[in-house]
């Protein structure tokens, strides 16, 4: 059993812990050992919190001994380094926060601790979550465990790679334009972006506040449901979190799919979609038809405006959100500033990487006098149209399906032109603009690199998405495939 510990899902982990096959401490030690041995090649962690993890594992074991264990007690997880963790360095993948130790825990972190999970550390990410390949991180690129020449996707690339490589069964990510779903697809794992407002953003370092949403990344939809049970819900510290009852996401997983109406947005199967990816998605659709679902084509007519609208709104919000990194109170400060302007200029020039600077400049420009109406206001109008597209589609069908990304993971360093990088998010970005939930599940391979199927639902349809994904995973084994890299002795 112990040689398979690192392949277990959270659900299996809970069973093994309950059965006394392994203790939380043993499991934690095993995974910390793997991180120690393997992560040098992957670079999926920025900070490993071994001591805190072992202490938390001991607490979990004591809790279990007293018969007080819940479904996540002792479950090892990792946190994208965008979540503030009290007393632990929280870098957001940036030199700007290289020395920043958060004095408080994010709401999501508090909730996961309360559920008894054991955090192994903080995972690598694109700087300030700006990127689709994890190459913008100050801490260096992350490698894809399926192919060390490929990117893991981004911005939650570290979380995706760590889960795929068997370093941790699940991790938290965040998704502003696809940052959970695209790396989940590239790394062959399951990743859910919840409805905007479903999971608290308090303590989650802001990139684009009206789009950011935290969510689970794991080896199965069942595991994502377990994590959602722990993290979803209203938070009085986040005004945009929604006061609405949280269902038990695990309970609805087994509902049969007979009669499920699936819509295929025709705009998601057009030019730019790699043939292998398209074929894998079509095969997945057939699985659903076999489960009794009906399929029809739908249209999301404003899809082509999603990327331009996103690249106005997100940088605008980012330009403002990142103003606080000024060298005055925390984070990087340049040496020997001659005056205030020099302090600002050099601190920010030194502390931010190229992509972050690019987006701050774009956002500053689009918000400036004389341009606001043409850019920001227009983009918000487009956003409403995109939102309406989805509402119209969900009048006709229960869920939408399509590829999570147009291609499988690309090679490290392959996308030098920012716009070609931005186009990787063509199928994920509109979902954030509309605020609806989406999940990516493994659905095949293209030249040995995973392909992700994206399933979308209307607002607060997470339980339905997890049910649909789980039923797919009961009929397929894509999610059970493990990269060779994960087998140390292979």
């Amino acid at each position: 059993m112990t040689d398979k510990l690192h392949h277990m899902t959270l659900t299996e982990t809970a069973k093994a812990l309950d059965a006394g096959i392994v203790s939380s401490r043993e499991l934690t030690q095993e995974l910390l050992g793997r991180i120690d041995r393997l992560d040098g090649q992957l670079n999926s962690f920025i900070t490993v919190t071994a001591d805190q993890a072992l202490a938390a594992a001991d607490r979990a074991d004591q809790c279990r001994a007293k018969g007080e264990a819940g479904p996540l007690t002792g479950a090892p997880i990792a946190l994208k380094d965008i979540f503030c963790t009290k007393g632990v360095k929280t870098t957001c993948g940036s030199k700007m926060l290289d020395s920043f130790v958060a004095p408080y825990d994010a709401t999501v972190v508090e909730k996961l601790q309360a559920a008894g999970t054991v955090s192994l550390g903080k995972t690598n990410m694109d700087e300030f979550a700006m990127g689709s390949s994890n190459e913008t991180s100050f801490y260096g690129a992350v490698k894809n465990p399926w192919d060390l020449n490929a990117v893991p996707g981004g911005s939650s690339g570290g979380s995706a790679a760590a889960v795929a490589a068997g370093l941790v069964p699940a991790a938290m990510g965040t998704d502003t334009g696809g940052s959970i779903r695209q790396p989940a697809a590239y790394c062959g794992i399951t990743g859910l972006k919840p409805t905007y407002g479903r999971v608290s953003r308090y303590g989650m370092i802001a990139y684009a506040s009206s789009l950011d949403q935290g969510g689970p990344m794991a080896r199965s939809a069942e595991d994502c449901a377990l994590l959602m049970n722990a993290i979803a819900g209203h938070d009085s510290r986040d005004s945009t979190s929604i006061a609405r009852g949280v269902p038990n996401y695990s309970e609805e997983l087994s509902a049969p799919l007979a009669g499920l109406k699936i819509g295929l947005p025709k705009e998601y199967f057009g030019e730019g979609l790699a043939t292998d990816v398209g074929n894998a998605i079509q095969d997945a659709i057939k699985v659903f038809e076999g489960l009794g679902a009906t399929v029809r084509e739908v249209s999301l007519p404003h899809t082509s405006y999603a990327i331009p609208a996103y690249y106005v709104i997100a940088p605008a919000e980012a330009s403002s959100n990142l103003s606080r990194y000024d060298g005055v109170r925390f984070g990087h400060r340049c040496e020997n500033p001659t005056d205030l302007i020099d302090l600002y200029k050099r601190t920010r020039a030194e502390g931010f990487g190229e992509e972050v600077k690019r987006r701050i400049l774009i956002g500053t420009h689009t918000l400036s006098e004389g341009f606001f109406d043409a850019y920001y206001k227009k983009a918000q109008q487009v956003r409403r149209l995109i939102h309406q597209d989805f509402l119209d589609a969900f009048e006709e069908v229960d869920v939408l399906m399509g590829p999570a990304a147009p291609t499988p993971a690309f090679d490290l360093g392959a996308k030098k032109d920012p716009v070609s990088m931005y186009l990787q998010d063509i199928y994920t970005i509109a979902i954030n603009l509309a605020g609806i939930p989406g999940i990516s599940v493994p659905a095949g391979f293209s030249n040995g690199r995973p392909v992700g199927l994206q399933i979308l639902g209307t607002h607060f349809a997470e339980a339905r998405l997890l049910n649909v994904a789980h039923q797919f995973q009961q009929s397929t084994d894509w999610h059970l495939r493990r990269p060779e890299f994960a087998e140390e002795n292979a």
Binding site: C84, P103, A206, R237, S239, S320, S323, R324, R329, E369
Partner: protein, 484 residues
């Protein structure tokens, strides 16, 4: 050429909430630097604002107090600029959809007339921290205790035409916010500050001249002086063939002048956009109606009532209604003594003089309204003379006793109204003053009125001030005339 001054004011009022507008930190003034700044106030990564309902309620009360439109929805925007005491690099404010719409404020002018100043809108925003330039040897200290204190910015229309009107407007705003209890109005502690927009134009011209904005003026007096200086500067500039440029200026009270800070070209582009961390504020009618019911009587209503129902002069009504404390004090005195005019005279006269002399606020008066009311009541029922009353007031002021009655008793100041007792004193004084009596007799009858004063004085002296002067006067006149 005749010039006309045009003035508009932006008044920043710190709201008297317990905690900050977007965080739970205390707003108390004067704490050790940075002891009232939590993660939200420091703008740490990941923190989010949560709107303080008390700040919303206070802003709405102000709106109701000036009969303003209350829009159903207001929206917070971010005003982006870099400054060390602005932790997030933006100020959360309301640019396009303020919480309070158009309203009106009535101001009182020195000639007793009044004028309506229109309020364009009032919006909520957060205060910045403070930069401390002393004590840090070439460095700047940052104190973020003030950061996040709720501010209501009240923006007037350019309706004022003189420095006096601007000061009167500022006083009216001060009086409204303190009446409503939404601010302590303490200008010395920065609870109220204002930016003044000033321009001049040839009398009769409709178009406005180019304006200058004088930032952060923090006293009634400085507002008048800054405007006076600025108007003169602009007129001189134009008359010398120059042109006023649109710019931000600073008033230096020590030099008594305004100085240019930055011109419009150098001005920040604040890149306003709706704050994505805060939801639009939706105010339903029931909530507004509920707040309306809690409103106290405001200065304008009070003034009208003092004038029309209590019969006070326009001047007294204006002064006595100008602050909530003064009005409450006066009304208490009136209730205790039962006479509004007498109460007004005493509050405006003896009390106000003593307060000014000792530089005290009415709230700190050593003489309570009850005690003063009790004193005035004794004047009205003729228990004591006006002269004795002043003595009693002084004793109350010195804290010699709690009530006027106790002092009257202790000092034996009770007025003698017993006619026979007074008559005896009058007879004695006439008997003791043969020379004065002779003069009185010899005088022309129309001169005698003045000469009677001597005798009155002697009788009052003999009674140690306790004789009723009216009675003494009447008796003396009768007796002396009988001797003529």
């Amino acid at each position: 050429m005749q010039w006309e001054t045009v003035i508009g004011l932006e008044v920043h009022v710190q709201l008297a909430t317990q905690s900050k507008i977007f965080s739970g930190s205390s707003t108390a003034f004067g704490a050790e630097p940075n002891t009232q700044a939590n993660a939200v106030d420091l703008g740490l990564p990941g923190v989010l604002p949560v709107l303080n309902e008390q700040a919303v309620a206070m802003a709405l009360k102000f709106g109701l107090g000036i009969n303003a439109d209350i829009p159903e929805v207001s929206i917070f925007d971010r005003k982006n600029y870099f400054y060390p005491d602005l932790p997030k690099g933006y100020q959360t404010s309301q640019m396009y959809h303020p919480i309070v719409g158009r309203g009106e404020v009535e101001i009182l002018l020195d000639d007793g007339s009044s004028k309506i100043i229109r309020v364009h809108h009032a919006h909520l925003e957060e205060d910045a921290g403070k930069s401390l330039h002393e004590d840090f040897h070439g460095m700047t200290g940052i104190d973020l205790n003030r950061a996040g204190t709720p501010l209501l910015e009240i923006v007037s229309e350019p309706d004022m035409r003189s420095a006096k009107e601007a000061a009167a407007y500022l006083k009216a705003i001060h009086s409204i916010v303190t009446y409503l209890g939404i601010s302590d109005g303490n200008m010395a502690e920065g609870s109220m500050r204002c930016d003044v927009n000033v321009s001049v134009r040839p009398k009769g011209q409709e178009a406005f001249g180019t304006r200058a904005e004088i930032k952060n003026v923090n006293s009634f007096r400085f507002v008048e002086r800054a405007i006076a200086y600025e108007v003169e500067r602009q007129i001189e500039l134009i008359e010398d063939g120059g042109e006023v440029i649109q710019e931000t200026r600073l008033y230096d009270p020590d030099a008594d002048e305004t100085r240019g800070m930055r011109t419009k070209e150098e001005a920040n582009d604040y890149r306003y956009f709706p704050c994505p961390d805060l939801l639009p504020v939706v105010v339903d009618k029931a909530y507004v109606d509920h707040l309306r019911e809690t409103l106290p009587e405001l200065p304008a209503e009070k003034r009208a009532r003092f004038l029309n129902e209590l019969g006070l002069s326009a001047y007294d009504a204006g002064v006595l209604s100008s602050s909530r404390e003064t009005a409450e004090y006066f009304e208490r005195v009136k209730d205790v003594c039962g006479d509004a005019k007498q109460a007004a005279n005493w509050v405006q006269g003896e009390l106000s003089g003593a307060l000014n002399r000792d530089n005290l606020d009415i709230a700190d008066s050593p003489v309570t309204a009850e005690a003063l009311g009790g004193l005035v009541a004794r004047v009205i029922d003729a228990t004591i003379s006006g002269k004795a009353a002043k003595q009693v007031f002084q004793a109350l002021w010195n804290g010699e006793a709690e009530s006027a009655d106790a002092i009257i008793e202790a000092k034996g100041l009770k007025q003698v109204t017993d006619t026979s007792a007074i008559e005896a004193m009058v007879d004695q004084v006439i008997a003791d003053s043969p020379a004065q009596l002779a003069q009185y007799r010899d005088a022309e009858p129309d001169k005698r009125g003045k000469m009677i004063g001597y005798f009155v004085g002697q009788v009052m002296k003999a009674s140690r001030g306790t004789a009723n002067p009216q009675q003494v006067n009447a008796l003396l006149k009768a007796k002396l005339d009988a001797l003529c």
